[in-house]
Symmetry: C2
Subunit: 461 residues, 2 copies
C-alpha cells in the first residue's frame, strides 16, 4: 500500500491535531472545527494555530506550526493562497497527514495553486484529504473536521457504515439523516477536489479498515474509471458498496465540472460498470439513505416475502410495490397457514399480506413472526406497523428487536406517520432494526438486498 494511503491512519487516529487557521469567531470554519474538536470525543492534543490570537477556547494559540513543532495531523482552514507554503512547512516538520478544508483551487480556475500544493504534499509523502471539502469524521477516535456546528448537524453513533463523498453538501446532509435515525457510522470522508488522495485511495483504505463493514460512495466524476471499477468490484465482494453517481445528464455533468473540476464522464458507462461489478446503485439521495440500513440484516436464502400488517391498505400498497419491483410474495406452506389460523382471531383470514387487523396487539405480531421465521417459503419479512392505533404499545419494540435479532431471515419495519411514529422508528434503528417511512422505500431497499444476496450466492433463484 502506498505511503500516502498508510498515512491516512494519522488522519483518523492522530495523537495530535493542529488547526491551522483556528479562530475565536465561532461561525468561522476555523472556529467551528476547533470547537467541535474541543467539545467532542477527541482525546488527543489539540493545537490552534493563528498569528492573530494567543489563546482560543482556553488553549494556547501558536503563530505558526513551527512555533509548536510536529503533529500527526494538520487541519488547514486558511485562505487558499497560503496553503501550499503551509503544506511545505508541515512536511518539513514531519507532519504525516493534512486535511485542507479551504476552497479556491482548481474548482475556481486556480489550477497552478493546486498543483503547487499537490507537489509539496507528494514530496513529503503526506496523506492529504481535500482540498475544498469537509474532511473527515471518525466516530471512534472523535476526529471531526466537519465545519458544520454540532447543534446544526448531528453526528452519528459508532457503527459499521463508512461514507466517501466528493460533495461536502451531499455527504453532510446524508450524515445528518443517518445521525437522526441513529444508524452507526465508522468513518466519513469528504475528499473534495481529490488533490492528493481520491475516492480509489479512500476505498482501498476502508477495505482494510476493521471498523468498516459497508461502504457508501457519492461521486460526481473520477480520473481513472478503469481502476475505480476494478477496486470497487474487488471490495464489493467483501464489503457491500452502495454508490450514487451524480452529474448524469448534460447540464448535471456541466454543473459537476464547475463544482470540483472533475469531468463527470458518460453516465451510461458508469451504470454499465456498476451493473457488471454488482455494485448497488442508488438512483437518488432517498435511495442512498434507504439502501444503507438494510445491510446489517442476514442475507435472504429464498425470494418469497411475507408481509405482516395491522393496516389493510398499507399491506395492499406494499404488495403493489413488491410486484411492480419484480419481487414476489411468499406462498405460505400449509403448515404455516394452519398455525396462523390458530393464532389469528376468527374474523381474520390467512393471506399474504397477512392482515392482523387494527386491534392486533404486539403479542400477535410476535406469534405471527415466529411462525413465518419457521416457514421455509419465506425469505424475508416486511413488518408494517400502524403504531398509532389504540391496541399498539411500546412492547412492539421488543417484538421487532427480537425478530431482527433472530438472524434467520432479514426483516424490515415500515411505519408511516409523523412525530409519534418517528420516535418508534428511531428507537428501532438504535437497536439495529431497519425501518422505512413508506412501503415504496422499504421494498426498494429489499430489492437491492435480494440482488446482493444473489450475487453472493446465498439467494439461489
Amino acid at each position: 500500500m502506498a505511503t500516502k494511503i498508510k498515512n491516512l491512519n494519522y488522519i483518523f487516529n492522530p495523537k495530535s491535531i493542529a488547526v491551522i487557521g483556528a479562530s475565536q469567531i465561532e461561525e468561522k470554519v476555523g472556529g467551528v472545527v476547533l470547537g467541535n474538536l474541543v467539545n467532542g470525543k477527541y482525546k488527543g492534543k489539540i493545537i490552534p494555530v493563528n498569528p492573530k490570537y494567543t489563546e482560543i477556547l482556553g488553549l494556547k494559540c501558536y503563530s505558526s506550526l513551527s512555533e509548536f513543532g510536529r503533529v500527526d495531523c494538520a487541519i488547514i482552514t486558511t485562505p487558499s493562497a497560503i496553503v501550499p507554503q503551509i503544506a511545505e512547512e508541515c512536511g518539513k516538520l514531519g507532519v504525516k497527514s493534512l486535511i485542507v478544508l479551504s476552497g479556491g483551487f482548481g474548482e475556481v480556475g486556480n489550477k497552478d495553486l493546486e498543483t503547487r500544493l499537490r507537489n509539496a504534499v507528494a514530496k513529503y509523502e503526506m496523506a492529504l484529504i481535500g482540498v475544498n471539502c469537509l474532511g473527515v469524521l471518525d466516530t471512534k477516535t472523535g476526529v471531526d473536521s466537519i465545519f458544520l456546528p454540532m447543534h446544526k448537524l448531528q453526528r452519528p453513533p459508532a457503527g459499521g457504515v463508512a461514507f466517501i463523498t466528493q460533495s461536502g453538501a451531499v455527504g453532510s446532509s446524508v450524515i445528518d439523516m443517518v445521525a437522526y435515525y441513529g444508524v452507526g457510522v465508522s468513518k466519513f470522508i469528504s475528499y473534495g477536489n481529490a488533490t492528493n488522495l481520491n475516492e480509489i485511495d479512500c476505498l482501498e483504505f476502508l477495505e482494510q479498515d476493521s471498523e468498516t463493514k459497508q461502504i457508501i460512495l457519492y461521486i460526481e466524476g473520477t480520473k481513472d474509471g478503469k481502476r475505480l471499477y476494478e477496486v470497487m468490484k474487488r471490495i464489493n465482494r467483501k464489503k457491500p458498496i452502495v454508490v450514487l453517481k451524480a452529474g448524469r445528464a448534460e447540464k448535471g455533468s456541466k454543473a459537476a465540472f464547475s463544482h470540483t473540476g472533475n469531468l463527470a464522464g458518460n453516465y451510461l458507462a458508469y451504470k454499465a460498470a456498476f451493473r457488471q461489478a454488482k455494485i448497488i446503485e442508488a438512483e437518488n439521495l432517498d435511495e442512498l439513505f434507504d439502501f444503507i440500513k438494510i445491510f446489517n440484516q442476514p442475507l435472504p436464502v429464498t425470494g418469497g416475502i411475507a408481509v405482516l400488517t395491522n393496516g389493510g391498505g398499507l399491506g395492499i400498497i406494499t404488495t403493489d410495490a413488491i410486484e411492480s419491483s419484480g419481487l414476489r410474495l411468499a406462498d405460505f406452506s400449509a403448515r404455516a397457514n394452519n398455525t396462523l389460523k390458530k393464532i389469528l382471531p376468527p374474523y381474520a383470514s390467512v393471506n399474504n399480506p397477512l392482515d392482523l387487523i387494527a386491534d392486533a396487539k404486539p403479542e400477535l405480531y410476535n406469534s405471527a413472526v415466529e411462525v413465518l421465521m419457521e416457514d421455509a417459503t419465506v425469505g424475508a419479512l416486511i413488518i408494517i406497523v400502524l403504531f398509532q392505533v389504540p391496541a399498539m404499545n411500546e412492547s412492539i419494540i421488543e417484538v421487532l428487536e427480537r425478530a431482527s435479532g433472530d438472524r434467520r431471515k432479514p426483516i424490515i419495519v415500515i411505519g408511516v406517520g409523523g412525530e409519534y411514529v418517528s420516535r418508534f422508528r428511531r428507537e428501532l434503528e438504535r437497536r439495529g432494526v431497519p425501518t422505512y417511512g413508506s412501503p415504496q422505500a422499504g421494498v426498494a431497499a429489499l430489492k437491492k438486498f435480494f440482488e446482493y444476496s444473489k450475487f453472493k450466492g446465498v439467494l439461489k433463484e
Copy 2:
C-alpha cells in the same frame, strides 16, 4: 344533489353528536372517539350512549339513543350485529347522518348484514359514512371520529386540502405526516366499505365545499368506474385531484378485495382514465404526500426552472432529477446574468444551478431570488438550502416566505438532513412554503405541477 349527499353537512357540522358504543375504557374505539370529541375542538352537544354506563368523562351516558332523542349525527362503534337495528332506531328519531366505524360486514363475508344496514339507512335518506372506517375529521368544526388517540396521531391545522380515503390505515398515516409538517386540511373522509356513500358522493360533496381547494383521493376499487371518471374529470378542472390507486397487480388486487370487498379492477384502465382526465396520479405514498404541498403555489407560465443552492453537490443531484424527469433548467437572460454577477462574490460563477457557495448568507439568497423572479426565462424556482452551514441562520425563513409570497412564480424549498433541518421545514410549511426532504421528491412534485399548469392552459410549451 341527492338528499344523502346534502345530509353530509350534518356529519361535518352537526349541532349534536351521539357516540353509540361510547366507553369508559380509554383504549376502546368508543373510548378514544368520545375522548377526542370531548377534549378536541368540537363545540356542539356530545351524547354518550351505552347501556353499561351512566356517566363517561363527566357526561351523562344514555342506555339508548331513544332515551335521549334526536341528534344531527350518530357515530356508531358497537359490534356489527346490532348496527342495522341502531340505524333503524336513528332513522325513526330523525337522525340525519351516521358514521359507522365498526367492521365485520361485507369485508368478512357478512354481506346480508351490510345489505340490511344499507336498506335501513336508505329508508330514512340518512348520510352514512362507513362501514369499516375511521369516519371523518373536520378541522374547522372539530368533528373527529378518527379512533386513533391525539397523542399518537396528530391532527392537521385548518387549510384547503381535503382527503378521501378508502383505507383508514393509509388515510390516517398520511394525515399524520401532513399534520407533522403543518399542512392545512379542510376535511378528511375515510369511507371504508362505501355501504351508502362512496368516493363519488364524497367528491361531489367536496366539489361544493368552500373550504376545500384541492382533493386527495386514495382508492382501491370502485363500483362505477365510468361515473367516477366523469366526476373526477369535472372536478379536477376546478379543484386539482391527486389520486393514489392501490391494488394494482394481481396479488395487490386480491388483497384489496379481501380488505373492503371491492373489486380493484384493471389498473391499466384506471391509469388510462386518469391520464385522459389529467388527474394527478401518485405512484406511491411518498408521491401522494409530496404532490399535496405544491398546489398552494401560483401556476408556472414557462417551463424553465432556476435552481439556487449553497451546496454544489445538491445542485447537481437536482439538475440530474430535473433532466431525467423531462423538465428543463432555465437559460437565464443576459440581463439576469449581469445582475447576478454583481451580487455574487467574485469566485462564484453564474450558472444554473446557481451555486451561491457554502458561505452564502440569507441576504444573498434574497437578492438572487429577486433577480430570478424578474427574469422571464424562469418559470419556477427550486431553492436548496443546506441549513446546517455556519453562514446560514433563522432569517432564511423570512427570505423564503417572501419568495413564496411573491406569487409571480412557484417556489419549492429543498432541505436534506435531520432534526435541525426538520425544524426549518416545519416552520416553512406552517407559513405556506412547500418544502421537500430531497431533490428527487421536490422535482417529482414540480413535474406534476407543470403538467397541471399545462392542462389549465397557463403553461404554454
